[in-house]
């Protein structure tokens, strides 16, 4: 059922106009777009800091900025990218847009709460941006005590408040998803007919709900300690700085899975659609998401192998860290197997999927180095760690995010992006990424510590390579930004299902009506019914 483009059809974008109709909307699709705007802003702010960092590291001497400034740059890069881009990226934009549509619901269970989450996010962002503008913060995104609570002379409290507040946005989004997925599924949509994107978001929501409150209270305690000069984490006042690290990583390690799980969900959708195959081992991928969510909470101590933590606790955390690698490996193998005897097309989203599988594999395998106690002692707190988590977070999450944005762009905007430019950008990003971050593995094993403003000259060549890659990567990110905006006006009009994909979101027009579906859909088939005979969707 196609609507000709010339005939104006009411959908969520044109149902009402004006700033108020957006700022007071409770439509999950519009809120998703509000998030898209906000996180794009934060992405480019965080990216600008990264550019300055890489420029500074072109030479061994600290000649572009002073040490104070450099320390603020990497701190704010980390803070903004982690809390204001990576964590909300896929869940708050794609998840918000798609979770209700994929399960055949009209909206999330609590639409007003959803809008409140966005406002909370913005308020948290404002506090953090205030700290940035007022002079910045230099504690590192990890806020390690007693540096953050006693010694730093920068805007720690404002930043801590920003992170504290933003945490509640994350908690409420997770809560909304959990209730929605439990209670709002369309008739016939049993758990094992859910798209794997939904399973991934369910797992991510669990982590948001169970982990984020601990970060919130920990950051609050640091702020209280700093303001009142009491010693909860400061050994000079009787406290224990290792306790801070435990509480911080209890959330912040699982937070990695908050970021990567939704990207894995996107991957399952992309790989299935562009190879026209049912996802291989659906149940294993679904349960591996839950396994990652649960096991992810048991491994935080691997950030602390040289921190002065007990040797015996370190050993327990090490073996648990190896265990959490297994479900990730299972996913990669299953995606690869899905390609087998498929009908594979190389459209832009699929290129991102290939990129994701490659980079995530490297990122995941190098994670094993960090779980191995003996090797971790050498590589922890070096550029090896930096390279590893950028392979997961940029190579994994950002690739998944961009792949997802391209895949669902026709649904979100009703327009097609230019395919040629899309493929070019995907290629540029892939090349730029590897050039930026692969040399950092070598730097790390050579012993270059992270967060270094200046460094011995023998590390320079690899650093220059990394900086050169970063400039390519930066261009790569600007290209989609430009052509996606361009496509809003000049792109070809998209029909309801340009990829011939399965999934309820493709059964409603693009862009969808405010209520998502003309009638509540009834589901009679599994999620990835890519097989002959039932190609047509009425």
């Amino acid at each position: 059922m196609r609507t000709p483009a010339s005939e104006p059809r009411e959908h969520y974008l044109n149902v009402s106009y004006g700033v108020r109709s957006w700022l007071f909307t409770t439509d999950h699709k519009r809120i998703a777009l509000l998030y898209l705007l906000a996180i794009t802003f934060f992405f480019f702010v965080g990216g600008a800091f990264a550019v300055l960092i890489r420029l500074e590291l072109m030479t061994p001497a600290g000649d572009l900025v002073q040490s104070e400034t450099y320390n603020k740059l990497f701190t704010m890069h980390g803070l903004i990218m982690v809390f204001f881009f990576l964590i909300p990226s896929i869940p708050a934009v794609l998840g918000n847009f798609l979770v209700p549509m994929m399960i055949g619901a009209r909206d999330l269970a609590f639409p007003r709460l959803n809008l409140a989450s966005w406002y909370i996010f913005i308020v948290g962002g404002l506090f953090t941006m205030f700290a940035v503008v007022a002079g910045g913060v230099d504690t590192g995104w990890t806020f390690y005590t007693p540096y953050s609570s006693t010694y730093s002379n920068t805007h720690v409290v404002a930043t801590a408040l920003g992170v504290f507040i933003t945490g509640f946005s994350s908690i409420l989004t997770g809560l909304n998803f959990i209730v929605t997925i439990h209670k709002m599924r369309a008739p016939g949509l049993t758990w094992f007919r859910l798209p794997l994107f939904i399973w991934a978001h369910y797992a991510t929501s669990l982590i948001m709900v169970l982990g984020t409150p601990v970060l919130a209270i920990t950051i609050a305690l640091v702020a209280i300690e700093r303001v009142l000069r009491i010693g909860i984490f400061d050994p000079a006042l009787g406290g224990d700085p290792i306790l801070f690290q435990h509480l911080f990583w209890f959330y912040s390690h699982p937070a990695v899975y908050i970021m990567i799980l939704p990207a894995m969900g996107v991957m399952s959708e992309l790989v299935a659609c562009f190879s026209r195959k049912r996802v291989f081992g659906y149940g294993f991928i679904a349960f591996s998401s839950l396994a990652i969510a649960v096991l992810g909470f048991l491994v935080w101590g691997h950030h602390m192998f040289v921190s002065g933590q007990s040797v015996y606790a370190a050993i327990v955390f090490s073996i648990l860290s190896f265990l959490v690698a297994i479900p990730s490996a299972v996913k990669v193998f299953n995606w690869t197997a899905t390609l087998y005897k498929g009908s594979i097309s190389y459209q832009t989203p699929m290129l991102y999927a290939f990129g994701f599988i490659g980079l995530f594999t490297v990122g995941g395998l190098t994670g094993l180095f960090l779980a191995s106690l003996g090797v971790d002692v050498h590589v922890t707190d070096t550029y090896f760690v930096v390279a590893h988590f950028h392979y997961i977070m940029v190579g994994g999450v950002v690739m998944g995010y961009l792949g997802g944005i391209h895949f669902w762009w026709p649904k979100i905007s009703g327009r097609m992006y230019p395919e040629g430019w899309g493929r070019l950008a995907a290629l540029v990003i892939f090349i730029g990424f590897n050039l930026t971050f692969f040399p950092q593995f070598l730097l790390g094993y050579l012993g270059m510590p992270r967060r270094y403003h200046f460094y011995p000259p023998e590390f320079q060549v690899l650093n220059v390579m990394s900086s050169a890659g970063a400039s390519i990567l930066g261009v790569g990110y600007l290209i989609p930004m430009v052509y996606l905006i361009w496509s809003l006006r000049y792109g070809a009009v998209a029909d309801s299902n340009p990829w011939e994909a399965k999934g309820l979101e493709w059964q409603t027009p693009s862009p969808p009506p405010t209520q998502n579906f003309e009638q509540t859909p009834v589901v009679q088939d599994e999620a990835y019914a890519y097989w002959p005979g039932e190609v047509e969707v009425d």
Partner: protein
């Protein structure tokens, strides 16, 4: 949400039990029983919160999903405490000869 209206008597019984347990926990604290003091206090608190959850919060009459949610909360708290304490309780071991 439970639709079932419990008899008033249930609530008063729970109330009486809670008050009684409060009295017991205060009394017990005045006897020195070493490590037992802590265990008893914790056991009584757990009992009290259990009956609050089961009857005042109607968990007993709620769906299995609600049970799972409530259980998950306490289980994750247990993870946080147990793994954190696994560090503190074993820190001194390495310096002990023979370990």
């Amino acid at each position: 949400m439970s639709q079932r209206v419990l008899p008033q008597k249930t609530y008063y019984l729970v109330f009486a039990a809670l008050l009684l347990l409060t009295l017991v926990t205060v009394e017990v604290a005045f006897f020195d029983m070493g490590i037992l003091n802590f265990s008893i206090a914790l056991a009584i608190s757990t009992c009290k919160s259990l009956i609050v959850i089961l009857y005042f919060m109607h968990l007993r009459y709620s769906s299995r999903l609600t049970w799972v949610v409530a259980g998950a909360g306490f289980f994750w708290l247990f993870i946080l405490m147990a793994l954190t304490m696994s560090d503190y309780l074993t820190r001194a071991w390495l310096s002990v000869p023979g370990w």
